[in-house]
């Protein structure tokens, strides 16, 4: 066992996928020679050659568009979108084709779109977005957002080996998060949440970068005598409703948290679903926490914009105090 960062786990996942299947191709802006602006693809071009790991011109729509063409040709395309905020030029290709092409052709469409996402990195505009709800709402896509290294590795291997398109959101502020593990870990099926911490008083639902924050909040709550259960969704679409409902049947209270703005965010799906499926178990309204309903602010203000452990704690207290 050794301490592996989330970033390195993803690198290893890509490496092992490239080694396992000659049809796997990794491409995007600056992923080749440079090894990616976050160094996630570091060394891959050197080891697998320029045919299998290549830089593309600066054009996100074409990056995804050629991924569709390559997938139809029989390749397993693993394009990278350099930052969350630059996935929007590819939205048409993703919504009209990546999500729908299987439906129209009957062919498999093995595409895993890697997207470093989320804020808290002190960046300028467009580098801290959390666009996951757009994709979760798009039928035909699978959407995952791991929070810890082993899950990142396991989900990535499953995504790349699978025949359906997956939007793979990497919590970039957590690339240095470490976990003791031995790689490779087995591929992890999509669609299974995990109980990241057991508790009895309130369920906190999170994914991606907010899982770590939720765990910190749970730690603090424990010190105050409140037992918080933390669920790491891992996969947004499909959503593991069963694990959620099971937890809320036990705690009777829930808080859902993400970085994206609350309004019509993914937390709305979780809250609506829990409020429906666990209606009789809930002893307090499901509280949603998220970014403010404003454009992502200049970085000096991002800590005020994003949920943090304190806000989660407050919500937990509010939930416990209810009724």
């Amino acid at each position: 066992m050794s301490a592996v960062t989330l970033g390195k786990a993803i690198t290893q996942g890509l490496r092992d996928a490239l080694a396992a299947d000659a049809k796997v191709l990794v491409f995007g802006e600056d992923v080749g020679r440079l090894g990616g602006v976050f160094r996630i693809t570091d060394g891959l071009q050197r080891d697998f050659g320029e045919d299998r790991v290549f830089d593309t011109p600066l054009a996100e729509s074409a990056i995804i568009g050629i991924a569709v063409g390559l997938a139809l040709r029989g390749f397993r395309a693993v394009p990278e979108i350099q930052f969350d905020g630059f996935i929007y030029p590819a939205f048409e290709q993703i919504v009209s084709h990546v999500a729908k092409y299987e439906n129209r052709s009957g062919l498999p469409l093995p595409i895993t779109i890697r997207v470093p996402f989320g804020g808290n990195i002190g960046a300028i505009e467009h580098h801290s977005e959390s666009p996951e709800a757009y994709f979760a709402h798009t039928a035909g896509l699978k959407v995952v957002a791991p929070a810890r290294p082993s899950d990142a590795y396991g989900l990535l291997r499953t995504a790349i080996a699978g025949d359906d398109p997956v939007i793979f959101f990497e919590p970039k502020a957590r690339y240095y998060l470490k976990e003791e593990m031995d790689l490779p870990v087995p591929p992890l099926p999509l669609g299974r949440a995990r109980v990241a911490r057991e508790g009895t008083a309130v369920t906190v639902v999170a994914y991606g970068p907010m899982v770590e924050t939720a765990l910190r909040a749970a730690e603090a709550a424990a010190e105050e005598g409140t037992s918080v259960e933390v669920i790491d969704l891992r996969s947004l679409a499909p959503l593991d409703v069963e694990t959620l409902v099971t937890s809320v049947r036990k705690t009777h209270r829930a808080v859902v948290v993400h970085e994206a703005p609350v309004f019509c965010g993914f937390g709305a799906e979780v809250a609506a679903r829990l409020s429906h499926d666990a209606f009789d178990s809930l002893e307090a309204p499901v509280i949603r926490l998220g970014g403010l309903n404003v454009p992502y602010p200049p970085s000096r203000f991002e800590k005020l914009y994003l949920p943090d452990a304190d806000r989660i704690l407050q919500a937990v207290d509010e939930s416990v105090a209810y009724g």
Partner: protein, 339 residues
């Protein structure tokens, strides 16, 4: 049009006649589909009247192992690839989004979203190249498509990666109601140069010119010499689709010069002048076209309504999530409520 020995050179009399035959047949299918739409059998029809030479010439110029990536007006091309026209009409009848197996015919699905298929074609061609295959991709789009960002991004990728792809613009001079001069600054063919590859403007109503331009572009691509752009200038003689009323934006006098340049008539005249087509042959081709139309009509009317659950759910994921299968079950239950 009599002085076309060069282009015709490589083709046998039989092949030359077959070009005519194909044009006649696809025109008949186009006309029949329009009738079927008017009779309420189809939700929509997009005529390709006037564009037969481009569709036939280009398809025949490609090898059978090559791939075609169409827009939505390439029904004629699909027919030339052997896809059953009656089955295909299932698309326009609203029965299915994908009436044929793209791998079997090496003909990808229709793409409605203008220009978005162009990067698919380039990616596919990049894949061919990576595999060291000799297959080439023919990518087809309209004049309007060249205004979209995807078109440009794909051109540039094709140039950078030297993808074995032939870009064929069916410049029919209209994008719904917008004429070329309000659509396109400069010239479509000339744009190729800016991407570092060859671009030519050809007479899209001349089936032999189309054949020869596409064939030589495909040959170059096959030899590893990269992409080419062919702008086939033709004319959309009909409405944009059956939902369109061109009298609102187009004068009869706009059409007139093109009526006299009908691709089938001019080619027939040339074939006759070369003694490659006689009355008997023409009649038997017409009869064949008639038979095709009847078969197509019959096939369309007999197309079964696919099972709703299968249609809605079975081609969304190859590996459907459990929750999705549950939704499928729930859906089926609403169709046949349990007593």
């Amino acid at each position: 049009m009599a002085e076309k020995p060069l282009a015709a050179d490589g083709l046998s009399p039989q092949q030359l006649l077959d070009l005519y035959r194909k044009m006649v047949i696809i025109r008949r299918a186009d006309q029949e589909a329009l009738n079927l739409q008017r009779q309420g059998e189809l939700g929509l029809w997009g005529q390709f009247l006037g564009q037969e030479a481009t569709q036939v010439g280009a398809t025949v110029a490609m090898e059978s192992t090559d791939w075609i990536v169409p827009s939505y007006r390439e029904f004629g091309m699909a027919m030339c690839r052997g896809i059953d026209p009656g089955e295909m009409l299932g698309y326009f009848r609203g029965l299915t989004h994908g009436p044929w197996d793209p791998r079997r015919y090496r003909f990808l699905p229709f793409t409605i979203s203008v220009a978005t298929q162009v990067p698919h074609a380039v990616g596919f061609a990049m894949g061919c190249r990576l595999e060291g295959s000799r297959e080439v991709v023919l990518c087809v789009f309209g004049d309007g498509a060249t205004s979209e960002g995807d078109w440009h991004e794909a051109m540039n990728f094709a140039g950078v990666f030297q993808a074995p792809v032939v870009f064929l613009c069916q410049n029919n001079q209209w994008a719904i109601s917008v004429p070329l001069r309000r659509q396109t600054a400069g010239s479509i063919a000339e744009r190729a140069q800016g991407y570092g590859f060859a671009g030519v403007r050809i007479d899209g109503n001349d089936v032999l010119a189309v054949f020869s331009a596409v064939r030589s572009a495909a040959d170059r691509a096959r030899r590893g010499e990269g992409p080419s752009l062919i702008e086939a200038v033709t004319y959309r003689m009909g409405a944009h689709t059956s939902a369109d009323d061109p009298t609102r934006y187009r004068l009869d006098s706009d059409l007139a010069p093109w009526s006299s340049r009908d691709p089938i008539e001019t080619y027939a005249a040339w074939l006759r002048s070369q003694a490659l087509l006689d009355e008997g042959q023409a009649d038997s081709i017409d009869a064949e076209a008639e038979g095709m139309a009847e078969a197509m009509r019959g096939k369309l009317r007999r197309l079964p309504l696919p099972s709703p659950a299968a249609s809605l759910f079975d081609r969304v994921y190859h590996d459907p999530p459990a929750s999705f299968l549950k939704e499928r079950e729930e859906f089926e239950a609403t169709l046949e409520p349990v007593e």
